[in-house]
């Protein structure tokens, strides 16, 4: 069942000059409990689409919206973002834009207190969310003193603690080191598996998102130009290049070998590449 339905969505920002059209007739359905990747180049409209998923658009941004967005059956035009925030959590690419409390634990508590939860429940959720992002040792620290990656993990904990049905991650790990990235992806994937949280992973880097998502869309200049399984979409070098997406390195290797020796390799993971190439090295007659 679809938890997110985007129907003929267009949006243009109002500016002093002409309106700037950023989204153009977007249609999407995302099922409950699925992980979905939205990929595309800088300026494609990805972040604008994210804002339309929790009602910030059309309620808090100047512009004209056509079409509609339904989240868990709720039409975002009829519901204010404050009410939608417990259904859809958004984690932005720049954590500085969302951290303002004097300590990490107060930061995580902020949304929970606004949601009117009991003190005991708040404490338990703070403990849990900070453990998930491995920031429990910093609960008394000031967010301003943390490194970029640590701040991002706190921002993620703030959203996680609200236990939203849909978690939108807008380039959430680009400032994290490899260990931190893996931790975040594992944490959100665990939420999806265990609590049926729907994940929307937004970004330009398919190295991780391809491994975790069942469906992927490419957004270019405000339009969805491709929608399908990551393994199929990412095999298309021309499409991936056009979309400014960083392919998984194993797919890049498949492209390179395919172009140089007319094979048809298609790899997302190292395991796939290893078994094909090992077979080939041991038996030169086998082909990809």
């Amino acid at each position: 069942m679809a938890i997110i339905q985007v129907e003929h969505l267009s949006f243009a920002y109002t500016t002093d000059l002409e309106p700037v059209k950023v989204l153009d007739d977007i249609n999407l359905e995302i099922d409950k409990g699925e992980a979905f990747a939205l990929m595309g180049p800088t300026g494609a409209g990805k972040s604008t689409l994210c804002l339309a998923l929790n009602g910030i658009i059309p309620h808090l941004v100047n512009g004209t919206m056509d079409g509609r967005v339904l989240v868990d059956g709720i039409d975002t035009r009829d519901t204010y973002p404050a009410a939608l925030s417990q259904t859809v959590g958004i984690i932005h690419q720049d954590p500085d834009s969302q951290l303002f409390c004097p300590s990490v634990e107060e930061e995580v508590a902020f949304g929970l207190e606004n949601a009117g939860l009991a003190r005991q429940e708040i404490t338990e959720r703070i403990d849990w969310a900070l453990r998930v992002v491995r920031m429990d040792a910093y609960r008394k620290s000031s967010p301003a003193r943390l490194s970029g990656g640590q701040k991002q993990r706190v921002a993620i904990a703030c959203s996680l603690a609200l236990l939203p049905k849909v978690l939108v991650l807008d380039e959430p790990t680009s400032s994290l080191d490899p260990a931190g990235q893996a931790e975040v992806y594992e944490a959100v994937e665990r939420l999806r598996r265990e609590r049926q949280v729907t994940l929307v992973l937004v970004g330009t880097d398919a190295e991780h998102s391809a491994a975790y998502t069942a469906h992927m869309a490419f957004l270019i200049a405000g339009k969805i130009i491709a929608l399908g399984e990551p393994q199929k979409l990412l095999a298309d070098k021309q499409l991936v290049t056009l979309a400014g997406v960083y392919p998984p390195q194993m797919m890049e290797l498949a492209w390179e070998l395919n172009s140089r020796c007319q094979t048809s390799y298609n790899w997302l993971h190292m395991g796939q590449a290893e078994s094909d190439l090992r077979a080939r090295l041991q038996d030169p007659r086998s082909h990809g």
């Binding site: 500016t15 595309g40 180049p41 800088t42 300026g43 972040s47 690419q93 720049d94 500085d96 003193r145 943390l146 490194s147 970029g148 990656g149 640590q150 380039e171 680009s174 400032s175 994290l176 080191d177 490899p178 260990a179 931190g180 330009t204 290049t241 979309a243 400014g244 997406v245 960083y246 392919p247 998984p248 390195q249 194993m250 890049e252 290797l253 390179e256 070998l257 140089r260 020796c261 007319q262 094979t263 190292m270 590449a273 290893e274 190439l277 090992r278 080939r280 090295l281 041991q282 030169p284």
Partner: protein
């Protein structure tokens, strides 16, 4: 032996709380280096490089940039020598239009206005942001704001360029474009210091690597030697790029374990399998 462009001697730095963010670092960076500084979040990479243009002064030890002691030199005086691109573009954007932003540093260097205009136009075109020259930077998306900060620093043509996670928020196309430009600057003799946790970038572009962990340096060698040492990287909370790992996994079938890029992997593999269908 030529003079190093940056000499770091027993450098330590502690922020106000007293815990050292970096501890007792000694190293020379040769002229025309393409050095990647890699390490986990909070390892001290940014703290270290902020000493190169005097944004931070050593708590202990000494940093010499082209022989100049940064402790006794102002950041303004070092600006023509060391260009610095920060992680967060909003920390360095303040002008009303893209054009003014990129021109700001050049004007401060006292460069004639026609030359300022020429350089600004050239760099905006190279980074494909010429269309936004009259737009307020605040109106633009994160990726575009990043490009503007890069343009502003690149326009000053500094001898040493410090890039602190320069491509976070940029798409693949913009990253390639950006590094094409950086490679050209490197070939022209500039020294490049790239702070990153993107192992694909470090492996592909740098020629030497400094590995940091908890404020200390734990490795300084050629990029190839660093990346073939999986234990060292793991110790720093990092991992080899997938092609390097794949080479290692296929070592028993004859593949090398120190490959750095897709192209290198393909060359080695095709050489081995005589796979020339």
């Amino acid at each position: 032996m030529a003079e190093p462009i940056i000499r770091i001697n027993r450098l330590s730095h502690a922020y106000e709380e007293g815990t050292p963010a970096i501890h007792d670092i000694t190293l020379d960076i040769p002229d025309n280096a393409f050095l990647a500084i890699i390490g986990h979040n909070g390892a001290g990479k940014t703290t270290l490089v902020k000493h190169f243009n005097g944004l931070l002064k050593p708590s202990r030890g000494q940093v010499l940039v082209t022989g100049i002691d940064v402790a006794s030199t102002s950041t303004a005086a070092l600006a023509h020598l060391v260009g610095f691109v920060f992680q967060n573009p909003d920390h360095q954007i303040f002008s009303g239009t893209v054009q003014e932003e990129v021109a700001f540093g050049l004007k401060n260097l006292g460069i004639a206005s026609h030359e300022v205009e020429r350089r600004v136009g050239q760099i905006l075109d190279e980074l494909e942001i010429g269309a936004f020259r009259d737009t307020p930077p605040a109106m633009l998306g994160y990726g575009l704001r990043r490009k503007i900060t890069l343009a502003a620093v690149l326009a000053m043509d500094p001898r040493i360029l410090v890039l602190d996670e320069p491509t976070v928020g940029l798409d693949a196309h913009s990253t390639n474009e950006f590094f094409n430009h950086i490679n050209r600057m490197h070939q022209q003799g500039h020294s490049i210091i790239l702070v990153t946790h993107d192992m694909r970038l470090a492996a592909r572009y740098s020629s030497s690597c400094l590995v940091m962990r908890q404020g200390c340096t734990i490795g300084y060698d050629t990029t190839r030697n660093i990346f073939s040492n999986s234990n060292l990287l793991a110790c720093a909370g990092l991992a080899q790029p997938a092609v390097t790992r794949l080479g290692s996994a296929l070592q028993d079938a004859g593949m090398p374990a120190n490959l750095l890029s897709v192209e290198e992997f393909a060359d080695a593999y095709l050489g081995l399998s005589e796979h020339t269908l």
